[in-house]
Symmetry: C2
């Protein structure tokens, strides 16, 4: 369907919004017309927020999380356990894990996972800097928390091999049946792994 826009300015704005992931041209038009109904101040703060972020964003020099300073609030927090490092793909996973309040150590944000099809190799990720952190000592455990996909597993194994020379425990987050899920409908691989990796009943509930 060829959409004819009555204004080039409008068309440009729709084109830009339509570049966002999951935003088609109809949604883009709806968003742009919504912005048009807002005050000029609102549009200015929208417009400048994203540009300022892009121009001034910093990454923590230790864990590569997004940060306003050279060291992110998590790494700078003296209450965190500095002997544990949780390796994640991106800042979204940091936020998800932080929301559980179950982890008090530090993070290491890879900035992606190894994916040959997308042209992303180990050199494009923060893996060397992870090895550097471990080599400096003081780390007891590295927890791998990547997605259970072929790319995630590849990255897990790559990091595992890179860390083999060091005296550090490498663990990965538990895979099993989601809480609230029915066993009947679980996929075979997850169900199989949940049996292999079964945990002591009393330990699971701190009895």
């Amino acid at each position: 369907m060829i959409q004819k826009y009555p204004s080039v300015l409008l068309e440009n704005a729709v084109n830009e919004f339509a570049k966002l992931p999951g935003v088609g041209r109809k949604t883009a038009l709806r968003l742009v017309l919504h912005m048009l109904r807002q005050s000029e101040n609102s549009v200015e703060s929208f417009s400048s927020a994203i540009l300022t972020l892009k121009k001034e964003v910093k990454y923590c020099k230790s864990c590569y999380n997004i940060s306003d300073d050279d060291i992110c609030p998590i790494c700078a927090n003296p209450a965190r356990n500095k002997s544990q490092i949780c390796v994640v793909e991106n800042i979204k996973e940091v936020m998800a894990i932080e929301n559980t309040s179950q982890f008090k150590g530090l993070y290491h944000v890879l900035g992606g996972i190894i994916s040959p099809i997308d042209g992303i190799g180990p050199g494009d990720l923060q893996i060397e800097s992870l090895v550097d952190r471990i080599s400096r000592g003081g780390i007891d455990e590295v927890i791998l928390a990547l997605s259970t996909t072929m790319e995630g597993d590849t990255t897990n194994f790559y990091i595992y091999k890179k860390l083999a020379p060091f005296d550090v425990k490498v663990t990965m987050i538990a895979r099993g049946i989601s809480i609230g899920d029915e066993i009947e409908y679980a996929d075979e691989i997850t169900l199989g792994r949940s049996i292999i990796n079964r945990t002591l009943f009393n330990e699971s509930f701190n009895l």
Copy 2:
């Protein structure tokens, strides 16, 4: 769920994106992180496209459609039938009707519909300017193409009364069973109206 952002700049950008209709905080974060992965040039053109539109947008002085010039391309087109005016709520409806290629007249964009609950009265819409256009003569037919909602009907009746003093035919777009819809599942009101407003079989197909 309280999300803690590691960066105020990031949080600002997420807040701005989350103001868009239909965009929650999770989607906003996804969109912002996507923008962060783009080049600074890309973010600049995104940022400036919406701001330029807001600052420089014009509305056609005749039909109030969005336009880059004082008169929009539709009003300026000598091939259009200047004796027919189709009244629509917004520019989205102009684009939808233009896509059908079934209308060769001009438009009049109200900029909304009468909605007391949202504090929108006739004075907030381009109704006086429509009456002005009609009063200048040369218009044979006004086609009302507003939504079939209480607000749409209120606006239809208001315009109908305003146009009563003029020698102009006021029509409205046909309401009936959508093409491809099964009659069994049509709602009663639509089905009832489709019987009342039945059309001659041969005329419907230009036989």
